[in-house]
Symmetry: D2
Subunit: 333 residues, 4 copies
């Protein structure tokens, strides 16, 4: 097989991103689209010369090698299980589920079936973060001691979305937890998290926060600090800094352009790229390419389902830490 | 007409760039390819679902709205004339010709035929340089007084190419002359140029130089300085800085990534993007889109044939200035 | 009175810094020096045209308006009390004492005597941090939401010093706690701290750590994150970043020089200034000037003894948090 | 001799700078001051515990080892000659004279007397430019090929001053000519200069320009470009960039502080340090220290009188180039 035939389950915003990335991937082809709503499914299918099908038809189809799950979160685990049971290679957007036990059960099914599952932590494929990781691997900063992640969205999603997303830690910080694991190179064992509703006072409920400061610590004593906000007036703030025994390496932000204007008021550069799709487009492209290549070669995929589980466990612990105002050992979860 | 049908005359390196840009332009389609060599023509045609045709067949074809001229330079002027006489809209790579009088004659034909001609000064479409120009237009730096252009290639082209390219000023600096005109907003009236063979002593001949320092001055006394080299170990150095009565604006270089590593030896960032195709890919894309939109709308195109002529006149004057070690008035040319 | 006559109690490293700053302060004069060791006292006295005296003689002297306490920490509180009882204006290096209750008792004496006490948090006088604070006060970033402090020493002090300094939190982080209070503009109510011995495994004992990640939270939910290490190969890393409702402001590091060298390996800038005396010399100068002006004018001094107490309370809570691996409310202390 | 006794000839602005630098130099002492006006002389003398004397008394004095000449330019050459004839070591502000022949005659006297003369090109002592030169000497960028100097004052001096200063090239650019020589490591042989009155239309006369673009070229073909303006709204713009066969090195500007503020309008840093005294204070200090050390040791001083002459020759050639709109060989002067 030289071309991977893919079906898209979910034709919403992130589905479109992946469909475009598939279109730009030489050895991949979108063949089918399923969505609960007819119109977006038909639009995507038309644009990519694919067919609208039901999920069951896709699962049963011989001409579909792999599925991309970009539906609402509550369907993810079921579709993963159905996919691997149908022999499809599976790419699933994060998170697998908001409930840790449900994820464990799902991964047990994947393992039992010998299935292939890749979880959509797109930031691992950002060329700058990959370069950062490569410099660490090359020994440029010695042994990793402290990871500092600044992750601040340009603006909050709709209030309704935030209220039912599982909370900031499972919805937004989960990306940072994955990056912390990726950069630390060692599993965290405890977490301390503080959250506040500073951006929008309308956010309520036990985990209704839009700003957070989180610390992770590993068994060897290395640490990670994460700074989150749902609002950054100057753009999408995405930085990682890693301190090691021999030095420091960091990946800086991407500005909208390279122009700087100087006058009596000082030197002014452009704000940051404002939108995650613009900021991480090269990452989405590389993510799809990586999945496609691995699916065709039969090689291992990463980030794995277990990566998804571990990040969720940290998010669950962070939520508990925030709610109970205490340090939470991950072994509790 | 909602889609522009295009024929590519020349299937070499820059032809491929434009073909790829056409493929990514929604309202354009490559329908035919001509090249003196069969294989590259067939490869490009196959990749883009186009036909290999002779130039004469293309000129006569009803299904070709526009031609892209990416052949060797010595064919440009003839093909432009043939194109406009055949009613094709014409995009031509710079320069139109190395001889000023030949360009004047060619433009007379274009004018007589009421033809459409756009010249490929890709840098005008670089998003950063466009932002720089926009800030000037917005009055952020007041009246322009001095333009400083740093334009240094990562490495020299083949010696043979350099020896028959018309020399550094017509081959490489011509881009900078166009940017100087674009940023000055006023025509230069005189030029002083110094050139040296510092990179490769094998460059010989009257204009065999690979390094240069050039100054342009306008009637009102505004100035432009250009710094050129065929070699920059740290990547493709492309900067423009504009000083005005109220401040300064500049477009900085693009580095390969955003990672910085700090250690006992200091803070190190990545070299610059190394290759003009990588550096200017967004510019090539926007250039093609601009041509296609104008061709479909019947609107004016820019940079025009006259822009090509003016840059060549400056290049000719710079060559003369270098050879005769004197300030040359453009009115001489 | 137009010139403040000062006695230096302690002729060690930091005493010398203050003596030099006094020498450069037009309206101040060093008149006396006391130290347990004869030689450093005589050297300092000779250099500044001052007299070596005993502490008791200084306290009783009519020609001494103010004292600078730069002795070992365990003498600070006693000397403060003796000083204010003798009617001297007092400048004391941080910390007042390692024991919170001792500090409270000392401040009670200062209050009862109506004494003047300024505590040496030199970073408040750094021109860059003052500019940062001024931009916040000017409303440039709206309401403060998150403060991020990176504070990493170029290298550890002698092991013996570290073991008896009260630990990282009271010795080193105490500066950052003061800066966090200064930038937050609101008192922290709880702290979570993690510490590790990553730099030097020879550090032992209950609070023998050389690396730390600390989070502070206030009643309104604003947060501060602090990153500490006793080692930074690239120089003395001192940064503060403040996020607010309307934007972000930060004070960047100071490099050793402004030179950048570019080559095939990238762009390299100088390491940071390596030593706290070099980095904070302008701050020490401004600190002394501020104390002298206030002492002469009879105006209030800041940072006050209470600032010293509050930072120590946070350091005590951080120590407890680290040791007991839990979030500690400051009201416990 | 372990301390150099110095007399200041001229108690104006630059005289004060040097007097302060002398005061901060351990092995130097200001003993006498002369000025045509009584008050500034007395003020400086009082401040530095020196005596007001006549120039003749200073020249005849046994207790004066060296003189600093900071008078108006037209007295420089006479005072240098009188100084060396009186056996004084001489430090003289640039330029030695505005007339090339007068300088040659003066240097002949210095040589005949075996006198010591250092010329005040303060920028050679700027720590950043010295680091830049050191990196070149260390071979970090290979063989020097092109030097680019950006030298733009924050605002013009009084019109009257500009009209009688010998013109921009001899008054302001002369510093850049010296830096070009310092960085090129090879003598220029020709110059091309363009000047305009863009800042203040009231500047008239044959060399009444306030903006300029100059190119120097050496016998081996290396080049230097200089960009000048009497006005820069964003502060005192002082940059040098050097390209070599193996890379590029540059010394960047100094900003007023390190704070950057980010908001919807972008990222804004402080303007540059605005004043040459602030910008070059460390250079003035090092310059005086260097002269004092050499005077005491009997070692050679630099920049020499010949350095002053060479820079003036280039300035004369640049003036001629501007006025006659042609390339001028330095051998003409």
């Amino acid at each position: 097989m030289t071309t991977l035939s893919i079906a898209m389950l979910g034709a919403g915003r992130i589905g479109k991103v992946h469909a475009a990335a598939i279109a730009a991937t030489p050895n991949a082809r979108l063949v089918a689209v399923a969505d609960a709503f007819v119109e977006p499914a038909e639009t995507m299918a038309a644009e990519h010369d694919a067919e609208v099908r039901t999920i069951d038809a896709i699962m049963a189809a011989d001409d579909v090698d792999a599925i991309f799950i970009t539906t609402p979160t509550d369907l993810h685990a079921d579709l993963i299980e159905q996919g691997v049971r149908s022999g499809k290679k599976v790419f699933c957007e994060k998170p697998i589920d908001l409930d840790v036990q449900r994820v464990r059960d799902c991964l047990a099914v994947v393992a039992a079936e010998g299935g292939v599952l890749m979880v959509g932590f797109n930031r691992r494929f950002d060329p700058n973060f990959q370069t950062l990781r490569a410099r660490i691997d090359a020994g440029d900063i010695g042994t990793v001691e402290m990871v500092t992640i600044t992750s601040r969205d340009p603006g909050p999603p709709p209030l309704e979305y935030m209220m039912r997303s599982g909370g900031l830690f499972k919805d937004m910080t989960i990306h940072d937890f994955d990056m912390a694991r990726y950069m630390l190179g060692e599993e965290p064992v405890a977490v301390s998290a503080f959250g506040s509703a500073l951006v929008d006072p309308a956010i309520t409920g036990p985990i209704g926060v839009d700003s957070a400061a989180i610390t992770l610590v590993t068994a060897s004593g290395t640490m990670a600090q994460i700074s989150n906000s749902r609002r950054a007036t100057y753009g999408y703030d995405q930085r990682i800094e890693v301190h090691g025994s021999a030095g420091m390496a960091r990946a800086e932000n991407l500005h909208g352009n390279t122009v700087e204007v100087a006058g009596a008021g000082g030197y002014t550069r452009a704000p940051l790229m404002n939108f995650f799709l613009e900021r991480y487009m090269p990452a989405y492209q590389l993510e799809v390419q990586t999945f496609v290549d691995a699916a065709l070669d039969g090689g291992p995929v990463a980030p794995t389902g277990d990566d998804g589980l571990q990040a969720l466990i940290i998010a669950e612990a962070a939520t508990r830490s925030h709610l109970e105002r205490r340090v939470v050992d991950l072994s509790e979860i």
